[in-house]
């Protein structure tokens, strides 16, 4: 037997032993992962091409669900509302959290306390927070309208009970809830900016504003990109605040994609159709994720 042969035999033995060890460690998580995540992902795609009603019927109906979707006015409205909601909340959350993190990083007395308070809305139960805001928005007696009336607004908006303002009201609450989380992300990014860049800028005679524009914001570009992507993905998935506050109403004014998926699946038992809607959600998220993926690749290259 040659030397290399012995070596090969030994290394295959090692591979086999390592493999056995590795699978023992993996197994407890892997079984759960396969059954409750991996298989459902594949099934979701399959369901979307069927008319599965959660019970007996399951015929393969090819693209029928997807074709029906775009003539289903409540789906189209939900998709439109999701996009309005995303376009309305994401930029404000990102800009406000960038602003406040830059200010906090600029020497504010008591910053740790303010930071802790601002993060709390993100951590607190979304149901509880939504219930409180529902009270605050109460059209007749809610504190928001009482305050508006006391400063001379004669006819304050009815917020959640008016088709024109309901979605806006939800969006204001979500912006309020989201700022803290992205502020924390930005603060971590700010800590990573090399000090000497600021020193160099000072030597060049830059003032605070110029440092912000030419040093801070360019250095934060990857964080901003990441935060925007995450924020968009989260907005696509909004459900609980809407379900608790308005259940999509008044009319369909605040119906969003996930609410529609939930209702079709678990109220109307149209599993196949709801899965097709879920695929549209998945496609939206996939597109955003792929943008992030290629952007990161470009940065690395």
């Amino acid at each position: 037997m040659s030397k290399t042969n012995v070596k090969n035999k030994r290394s295959t033995a090692i591979v086999r032993r390592n493999r056995r060890k590795a699978y023992l460690f993996l197994l407890p998580n892997f079984i759960g992962f396969v059954v409750f995540t991996l298989i459902p992902v594949a099934m979701a795609l399959f369901y979307s091409f069927t008319n599965y009603d959660g019970n007996r019927r399951m015929d393969f109906i090819r693209l029928t669900n997807f074709i029906k979707l775009f003539s289903d006015s409540s789906f189209v409205i939900s998709l439109k509302n999701t996009i309005i909601y995303t376009v309305g909340t994401v930029p404000l959350i990102i800009i406000l959290s960038l602003l406040v993190s830059v200010l906090m990083n600029n020497g504010v007395k008591g910053a740790p306390i303010y930071r802790a308070i601002m993060l709390f809305p993100h951590i607190a139960s979304i149901v509880a927070v939504t219930v409180v805001w529902q009270f605050l928005y109460n059209a007749k007696n809610g504190p928001i309208n009482q305050i508006l009336r006391s400063i001379g607004v004669v006819d304050p908006p009815s917020w959640l009970s008016d088709q024109k303002t309901a979605l806006l009201a939800v969006m204001i609450m979500i912006i309020w809830k989201g700022i803290g989380y992205y502020m924390i992300t930005y603060l971590a990014g700010l800590r990573g900016i090399p000090k000497d860049q600021y020193e160099a800028a000072t030597v060049d005679g830059a003032n605070a504003w110029e440092k912000l524009i030419y040093v801070t914001i360019p250095n934060l570009r990857p964080v901003t990109f990441y935060a925007t992507i995450m924020c968009i993905i989260n907005s696509f998935q909004v459900f609980t605040p809407i379900y608790v506050m308005t259940k999509g109403g008044p009319g369909r004014a605040t119906s969003v994609l996930v609410l529609k998926i939930y209702e079709d699946a678990f109220v109307n038992y149209k599993f196949g159709y709801a899965s097709a809607e879920a695929m549209i959600l998945f496609l939206l998220i996939l597109v955003v994720t792929l943008i992030q993926f290629y952007h990161n690749k470009k940065l690395e290259a």
Partner: protein, 278 residues
């Protein structure tokens, strides 16, 4: 010189104005909730707002405690949170050890599978998951919630990232000293990863405690309700009991608030480590 000084002054005032306004607006709804939870239904919407009620109506709390079967819901939620967190941490650290410190041929492919499913949102898999759970005969049980939430790829990913930072030389040295793989995992990796484990636990506890959609889908039996389901149910059944609804809201937030006061650093660390995955 004088001009820059006054300009600095204006900047400082603006800075504090923005930070304080935002902080204040984050705080006010919570203070309002707390204050309203001690008021009668009539007082809740009285204007001008009386921040400190004249009489503290603690009976809002005791009423919620009784009518909403609160102790039962509280225990349900504690039980679910504890079991899911322990399972999540245990299985995630084990799997992360295999992915990070044992070389085996399928490692990269399997890990890629974990990563790829991480971008699939819960709302996409919830329907097939529901039929799997129903076929197992587990709908309307706590087991359903445990099974779908204890093995998420997120935990594996977070811990693997941390394990990757622990030098391989340390593991090799321990192997040469005759420690077996489980010994390395339990006596070297786990003690070195305390902060990551605490962060993952905190993330899981908060997510489970606050979860609404999964319990809404699976749980219909009131005896099995979680706190979030119970709060939502209270709002629809006792629409006009403003004081009691606020008391229930306070109670649903308090456990996480206490946890946050103690472990604030880990809340932030967990979020940031979740954030660097990009």
């Amino acid at each position: 010189m004088k001009k820059t000084k006054s300009r600095n002054m204006i900047f400082a005032i603006l800075k504090y104005a923005v930070v304080l306004t935002l902080t204040f607006s984050m705080l006010v709804p919570f203070v309002w909730m707390l204050s309203a939870s001690f008021k009668t239904n009539l007082e809740v919407f009285a204007f001008p707002i009386q921040w400190i009620p004249e009489v503290f109506h603690f009976e809002n709390y005791s009423n919620v405690w009784e009518i909403a079967n609160y102790p039962r819901m509280f225990l349900n939620t504690v039980k679910l949170t504890a079991i899911i967190t322990v399972l999540q941490v245990l299985t995630s650290t084990l799997a992360a050890y295999a992915f990070s410190k044992i070389k085996f041929p399928e490692r990269d492919v399997l890990f890629l599978l974990y990563l790829a499913t991480m971008m699939v949102p819960y709302q996409v898999v919830m329907i097939p998951q529901f039929s799997i759970i129903r076929n197992m005969g587990l709908s309307n049980t706590h087991m359903a919630l445990i099974l779908i939430q204890a093995f998420t790829p997120m935990g594996v990913f977070l811990i693997k990232q941390f394990f990757d930072g622990i030098p391989n030389e340390l593991i090799e040295a321990a192997r040469i000293d005759g420690l077996n793989e489980f010994g390395i995992y339990s006596r070297i990796m786990l003690p070195l990863s305390k902060s990551a484990i605490v962060s993952l636990s905190i993330l899981t506890i908060t997510a489970t405690w606050n979860d609404f959609l999964a319990p809404l889908i699976y749980i219909s039996d009131k005896d099995l309700f979680t706190i979030q389901l119970g709060l939502r149910n209270l709002c629809s059944e006792y629409t006009a009991e403003y004081g009691q609804i606020m008391a229930a809201s306070v109670m649903s937030v308090i456990p996480i608030f206490v946890l946050y006061c103690i472990f604030q650093r880990f809340f932030e660390e967990g979020m940031i480590s979740g954030a660097v995955k990009g």
